[in-house]
Symmetry: C2
Subunit: 382 residues, 2 copies
């Protein structure tokens, strides 16, 4: 065993835990807080809710809700301006991965200055960030507990992955009730993202016993609760299961990092600006199949955690069952099965292959991938 490192924020999990948002900010010494969110979350009523919770705690707020899906560098600059003009000293991220990653990036710029691209890569942040309180509303990104922020460089049309312990929020609030306003397609795609996080963290080169327990639990929960969660907005048990799955998958991948699914997804997502969860859903079974030979024993466990009866199966057979499980799940909940459905075309393969191999998430993929192998992989996913 190598040396394992593990970091996590303080976590507040449970129905109606969103009520603690104001008190959480006060506890961290906040005097005026910037709430970073998006129009969808605002429309669903959660922004208003959090504003009123802060007001009950006599905590003045400013808001920035112009966050876009696959958030851009210029979103971050605009948000940072609002933070500074309003003399804020703490940030609430409220929403899915886009809102939370933008909130983190605003915190970086507000204190450290420069451009967000200056912080791409690992451990580039020097000055400590203002208090960060993250309220996750999608059961997907895991950003509420992770040391990641992914922002699109709009000029290079490329997703920048920023990794730093400073990005682990101070407090993560996960309230399953916030999930009941999500439509079924968003539930499906963000849920497939949770599945990708669990699998990639579990087979990562940087996996440790501390991340394995989280990945294992997340995997079991998502395999049990994603279908019923997509089926019904009102199924609170399923929402709670998915919220916990997302949280635990976040703890796993934040510390074990990810692999080729996310490396490719970052490359394609920067260009096509389509949903991260959809791209991951398509890629996952292909990459699982490719990676199998690196860690066959781990695939036996993945199959078990998925609930597959592995008695009498060898590792290859169990691995195949696990891969088929992912395809069946994706098909059941109606996410695409090929990248061509998402607008990815054959002429993008060369550029995307090169970009994917440069992504920080490739370092922990359990199997080496050559440029030729990457091109072949991408062609197979069309």
């Amino acid at each position: 065993m190598h040396i394992s490192k593990f970091v996590a924020p303080e976590i507040i999990f449970g129905k109606h835990s969103i009520q603690q948002a104001g008190e959480a900010c006060l506890r961290l010494g906040a005097k005026k807080v910037l709430i970073v969110s998006d129009y969808g979350v605002a429309k669903a009523g959660w922004l208003e809710k959090v504003i009123s919770i802060c007001q009950e705690s006599h905590l003045p707020v400013a808001t920035f809700i112009e966050v876009t899906e696959n958030p851009k560098d210029h979103d971050v600059v605009s948000g940072c301006r609002v933070y500074i003009e309003n003399e804020c000293d703490a940030i609430i991220g409220l929403g899915g991965g886009s809102a939370l990653d933008t909130a983190k990036a605003i915190a970086i710029l507000a204190v450290n200055g420069g451009e967000i691209s200056d912080y791409e890569g690992v451990d580039k942040i020097e000055k400590p960030l203002p208090p960060l309180i993250m309220i996750a509303t999608t059961a997907g990104s895991g950003s509420e507990v992770s040391q990641f922020s992914v922002i699109v460089d709009s000029e290079r049309q490329k997703k920048m992955t920023i990794i730093s312990k400073s990005l682990v929020p101070d407090i993560a609030i996960v309230d399953p009730i916030t999930l009941v306003t999500k439509d079924s397609f968003l539930t499906a795609t963000t849920g497939m993202d949770v599945l990708s996080h669990s699998v990639e963290a579990f087979v990562s080169m940087a996996a440790t016993p501390l991340t394995d327990v989280q990945a294992k639990n997340a995997l079991s929960l998502v395999c049990k609760y994603l279908r019923p969660s997509v089926a019904s907005k009102a199924n609170e048990e399923a929402k709670e299961g998915m919220a916990m799955a997302s949280l635990q998958a976040g703890l796993a991948f934040s510390n074990a990092i990810l692999g080729a699914v996310h490396a490719i997804s970052h490359a394609i997502g920067g260009k096509l600006l389509i949903s991260h969860g959809e791209i991951n859903a398509v890629l996952l079974p292909y990459i699982m199949d490719f990676n199998f030979i690196a860690v066959p024993d781990r695939y036996m466990k993945i199959a078990e955690y998925m609930g597959i009866d592995t008695r009498g199966l060898n590792e290859r057979q169990a691995g195949n069952e696990a891969i088929q499980f992912v395809r069946d799940l994706a098909s059941d909940i109606g996410v695409p099965l090929g990248l061509s459905e998402l607008g990815f075309t054959e002429d993008m393969i060369d550029t995307m292959s090169t970009l994917a191999l440069q992504d920080a998430c490739m370092i922990t993929n359990p199997r080496d991938i050559s440029l030729d192998q990457m091109k072949k992989l991408l062609r197979s996913t069309l």
Copy 2:
């Protein structure tokens, strides 16, 4: 499900991770660090090791090694004096629960003043503590990750339990190699403490899915590795298993709190000043038997996590097997089976019963205990 809260320090786990102690202090801004430890740890060479690691990082140190087993309020006062006289600004705790709990208590007094008894109970600490770096060398207390510090009030002959998020260290370093210098009896008693933490956290009224995964893993690891760890100082795989068990049990009980085993153990330990692990080892099977009716389904799981084949067993039978497993384990590794072997006498029952019922750990015990029941329980353990 209620609202779950979970806090954990940054964790550095693995063989030779102790080498990162100096760098960890520097990262937290330390200019001069007080190392709090005891003679046993110093004699085993670990104090000298950590001093030289700090020197390599050009970090001046002061030391306080007068920590006693079941550490006293006056130990804390003496240590605090050393901290202030040497103008330290950070603290390393190095050792088992006694050294780590003393290090935490020194941190409280150094910044908040007053007497340590002022902080007994939950959330009494007001000012933020100096950076705390905990290096665990016993695979027992879990103090390196917990929000607990237990200090003896020497006048009242009573253990005071101090619980506060402020007591969660900034960085926990767990190096299994430090365990190879422990004698077999200390390995046995501290290991039984890990078992108590896992079981009590798992059946606690405050258990949550986040603590359950930790308790479950800790339980499986301790049941697998405690015997071989007691058998051989050189079995590094067993040391690593026990170090992880202790860490995960610590994460579980720090957030789920404990129960009657620890409540009684705190009462008796303050009076008799005998090893905490020994008292817990004796009490655990009796309390497990008493608590069974509160959470029978949990006992089925405990039996499974212990590795017991539960096919065909009902909950009561599985519970009995689990309790017998604990007795067999204690017997195999040579820890006492009755409190009378530890100097506990019948005339102490009344006082100890009253004290135990006042302990903070009683609140989360899954079954209510009346004073009469408590007396009867204690009588049965003689």
